[in-house]
Amino acid sequence: MKVQIDVGFCQGHGRCYDLAPGLFGDDEEGYGKVLGDGVVPPEKEDDARRAALNCPEHAIGLIEGT
């Protein structure tokens, strides 16, 4: 699994880096950013799903099977 953020939708609510701090961080203006290459270790797949399902702007994409 891989995560990505659609910067056109992200408004900096920060739910992703609250819920999955190992996968997402905040930039200097508080917008979410994907840490590293966005590849999700198997043990963090639930965190990634929670982050995506709690984003108020539907800005997080999950690419399964990568």
Binding site: Q11, G12, H13, G14, Y17, D18, D26, E28, E29, G30, R50, L53, N54, C55, P56, E57, H58
Partner: protein
């Protein structure tokens, strides 16, 4: 170096705040029909708006009123989200629905940028402020906030009943924002008056409202002068020195943004802390579970924000338009109820219940779209620290007198009187 004389008496217009624009007749009194005469300023709305919103959502779902010069109240999540996202058709030039509508010419800046700003100006005005309000930046304020919460609880020594709204929740955001702006912490009671006048005073006679708003303006101007004389590391000095496109900000921008930062952070976070404690006082099962499982607090907090979202925004319709079955006119208000969005059963499972371990919670308590609450990370920090400190020190509490609980009126809703019987741990 040129003298900064932007703030000298003869360089800013004496503002009565409402020199141009449209005033409407002040209409108060019981609502005859919520679908056609709604008002967010009446006691039945303040006491419990949720059954009214739920009823409208089922049978209306976009209510109208002739009060405030005319306005609309959408109650479905999808309609509220669509309006929040549509800055083409809906302006933020006033975000408090009342009896005065500022002229179109005030856009795209508005009176308190960036909350009153429209694109493209909004983007740059907001960008200036974002770095001070990131989760990382506000985490630096956490130790002092925690210490302050504990000092408020220390002062409960010897009391069995305390007012959690007036003696606790209220003081936390006032202290935090005073520190950020570099205002004297002892001015807190004045901030409370300023916030109340701005948010709850909308049906006051015009002269009275103008007088009260002027008091806020002059207070802020005095703070600007104090910071010009004694610059320091705070948001006021930052705004005085900030530049957009290579130019320092207009006086109206500096003072307008200070107004926003002072007002927006106080009643809102006070409401969120108070409503959370109100819920826990009435639901001993949830209270005991949170005391036993403090790791659940982040999830519970989001649920309190969803179920008791304090903030409703407003927009103004730009041009006559058809919107999802209703005919909106230019200048009509939209009362943008994020609390109503948050209780839409089409969006949330068991929307009318507060479920403290709700795992999927795409709530809109901090708004949607480009105006996402600038202070959301600050508010979350304050709410978490305030609840952590309370639950750690006062694990047992209940409503001392349910009939004495009183809620604020208008677009920011939370308990203003909340007597709790406490037993410290």
């Amino acid at each position: 170096m040129a003298v900064d004389n932007r703030f000298a008496q003869d360089h800013w217009e004496k503002r009565d705040g409402e020199s141009a624009g449209i005033r409407s007749e002040i209409v108060t009194g019981p609502v005859s029909d919520w679908t056609a005469d709604f008002s967010h300023m009446e006691p039945e709305w303040s006491a419990d708006p949720y059954p009214i919103q739920d009823d409208l959502r089922q049978r209306c779902p976009i209510a109208h009123t002739d009060r405030f010069g005319g306005g609309w109240l959408p109650t479905r999540y999808e309609d509220i989200a669509a309006i929040a996202a549509d800055t083409e058709h809906f302006s933020s030039r006033s975000i408090i629905m009342g009896n005065f509508r500022p002229p179109v010419e005030i856009a795209p800046i508005g009176g308190s940028p960036p909350i009153t700003s429209d694109p493209p100006f909004h983007h740059d005005a907001r960008k200036l402020l974002l770095p001070a309000f990131t989760k990382t930046a506000v985490s630096r304020l956490q130790p002092a906030t925690k210490e302050f919460c504990h000092s408020l609880i220390d002062a409960f020594e010897g009391r069995d009943v305390v007012d959690a709204a007036a003696d606790y929740a209220q003081h936390i955001p006032m202290r935090v924002i005073a520190d950020m702006l570099g205002f004297p912490p002892q001015d807190g009671p004045q901030f409370r008056e300023f916030a109340k006048n701005t948010l709850e005073g909308i049906n006051l006679p015009r002269e009275e409202r103008v007088t009260r708003m002027s008091a806020l303006f002059y207070y802020l101007l005095a703070q600007v002068h104090d910071h010009l004389d004694n610059p320091r590391d705070d948001l006021t000095t930052f705004l005085i020195n900030a530049e957009l496109d290579g130019r320092k900000l207009e006086v109206s921008h500096v003072v307008g943004t200070m107004t926003l930062l002072l007002i927006a952070g106080i009643d809102t976070t006070w409401s969120a802390i108070g409503a959370s404690l109100w819920h826990l006082a009435r639901n001993p099962g949830d209270r005991r579970r949170l005391v036993a499982e403090p790791q659940l607090l982040p999830t519970a907090m989001e649920e309190f924000l969803r179920a008791y979202a304090p903030v409703t925004m407003a927009r103004l319709v730009k041009e006559d338009m058809h919107f999802r079955g209703v005919e909106m006119k230019a200048g009509d208000w939209i009362l943008l109820s994020y609390p109503a969005a948050n209780r839409d059963p089409a969006q949330f499972d068991r929307a009318d219940q507060a479920i403290i371990d709700r795992q999927i919670n795409r709530h809109a308590a901090f708004g949607l779209g480009i105006h996402r609450c600038l202070g959301s990370h600050l508010a979350r920090m304050e709410l978490r620290v305030a609840l952590e400190a309370w639950l750690e020190r006062i694990p047992e509490f209940s409503l001392a007198d349910p009939s004495a609980v009183a809620w604020s009126t208008g677009q920011v809703r939370g308990p203003r009187t909340l007597p709790l019987r406490i037993r410290r741990g």
